[in-house]
Symmetry: C2
Subunit: 330 residues, 2 copies
């Protein structure tokens, strides 16, 4: 695998955490998402040939694409699907700069838990676009990076909301509502979080189907719950801007209950959520469509909350809002 | 303790289970309560003297009242407060028939769990009124029995809603709303329940204070949750009348989440609730103001649900709607 020059460009992009609005966003309700200080790092380097080679050190998979062909290097043929978003991200930049025949090596190294609803795949796609863009002197704007990352997500995930690549691109705290522009909430205050993972993976599609069925059977109630959910999100925006974390926590607790009401929580998640609340978190709720929960806790309580979540069976890490979106590292 | 004649009258009255509306009923929302097939039995017998002697075999307490004086027989002086509602019930019947100087022995034997939000004390008061009324040939109507039992509850509990003595008196399924008459729902279908007890006692006052604080801090959301709660109750009335237990269960799950949203559930309750749902119950929720939960489950699933609740740490019993309110046993 000889490269034509020694230059390598590394870019990184943050993971996201849903603070409010997961699932309900599909029904037009507002969502509040934060970029968190877990990042995907992507290093891009030119190749002599016209292949796109992608490896992920944390997933322990690697393979090379040449046109439609895939040659597995690590993790077998089934790893291909996990490498597709990054490949698609590379291809879009190549198309943009008009050099489809350029070969690129992409090395992914991420500390974002996967299949956890934390936007790991979008962070990789976003960082890949940025790294390859810089490598090829494409001078991409943030908006262009977002759109390319979004396109590569679309190829893999159908038509996602765009929340994940948006937060990975712009960082900070964003409000999203269907068919509207993202709003940068310009939250100044620190948002100290503990994220717990049940490791129980559930597909977003399955969860959305549960909500759809509940809504079909009891529309007058579910619609009311969604209005209540929207209110928790909008009041939380206010509270975040004022730095009133206790109120944000209270709103998270209520929002979690609304998600329980439509049937998308489960026992393991509840255990972690209660562990966090009982150990002094301001509030706790499930986050995103995976098996993760998020707790808001003062920094001097975080260790206690983390221990409680671990005792309740979760893997756990600290996180906080990261105002930096995608960036070139070197 | 010699009695003047051998006649003894036994009456019994059922316990209640909140199916919908606990706590929210204070805010004017509808509540649905069921009489269940756990009963308090009260045997009344005349005494030679003018004392009121009361014993409870299940609580293992006993004492004798003479005017304002209390003489402990079992359980010490602190047992007095638990015997007061029955004493007050006796006194009201004596006043009604104009024989204040009559002495009565009252023996209570109940299989209703106490301090569990199942209306044990109201069932005792109701059965006491009925037994003493028959003993003294007072020919009390049901409405009179209800009012006297309610008065004796008021003496002890301030100004309760009257739900407990109403269901103990009339049996069946009742809808209650503040400042309105009880509505007999005339539910024909069987309502097979499993009731799990965490044995974690919490005062209703404490729980209502939590809701009050949440409502003060976030009125626009809590009011919406209460409207949603009312909708679950009213849709459940429809479903109960049609015998659609699956829908009732779904509504119970949502109603439980609304109670979680205002902060009155806790981890042990959640464990039992999820145990019931995961073992095939139509639905499960906390019930009343105590540490109990209630699951609606087809009769051929009840054993499985009971086992699951026990494994999750609860004590458990089967119950079903009892259409018989207070009655004379012998």
């Amino acid at each position: 695998m000889s490269v034509i020059k020694n230059e390598a460009v590394t870019a990184s992009a943050p993971a996201k955490a849903f603070l409010f609005g997961e699932h309900f966003v599909v029904y037009g309700q507002p969502a509040i998402v934060l970029a968190i200080d877990k990042r995907a790092n992507v290093t891009a380097q030119l190749r002599k040939d016209d292949r796109i080679s992608i490896s992920s050190s944390n997933l322990r998979i690697a393979g090379t694409f040449k046109g439609d062909k895939y040659q597995a290097q690590k993790g077998g043929a089934k790893a291909r699907i996990k490498l597709e978003p990054a490949k698609s991200a590379v291809q879009q930049v190549l198309e943009k700069v008009g050099s489809k025949k350029t070969g690129v090596d992409v090395r992914i190294s991420s500390n974002i838990p996967v299949s956890a609803g934390l936007g790991s795949s979008a962070a990789v796609a976003t960082a890949t676009v940025a790294a390859v863009g810089r490598l090829l002197d494409a001078e991409l704007t943030r908006d262009q990076i977002f759109r390319m990352a979004y396109q590569s997500e679309c190829l893999v995930h159908g038509t996602p909301s765009g929340i994940d690549p948006a937060i990975s691109t712009y960082g900070g705290a964003l409000q999203f509502q269907k068919n509207r522009d993202f709003i940068d909430l310009k939250v100044q205050t620190n948002v100290p979080l503990v994220i717990g993972n049940t490791k129980i993976e559930r597909s977003t599609g399955e969860l959305l189907a549960i909500i759809r069925r509940t809504r079909e059977s009891l529309p007058s109630i579910v619609d009311l719950l969604m209005v209540a959910g929207a209110r928790t999100a909008l009041l939380a925006v206010d509270a975040l801007r004022k730095g009133e974390l206790k109120t944000v926590g209270e709103l998270m607790n209520i929002n979690h209950a609304l998600l329980c009401a439509v049937g998308v929580s489960h026992e393991s998640l509840e255990r972690l959520v209660y562990a966090a609340r009982n150990s002094g978190a301001f509030g706790a709720k499930l986050t995103g469509g995976g098996g993760c929960m998020i707790a808001l806790a003062e920094q001097n309580r975080q260790k206690k909350v983390m221990k409680a979540i671990e005792r309740a069976g979760g893997t756990v890490f600290e996180a906080c809002k990261s105002d930096e979106g995608v960036r070139i590292e070197s």
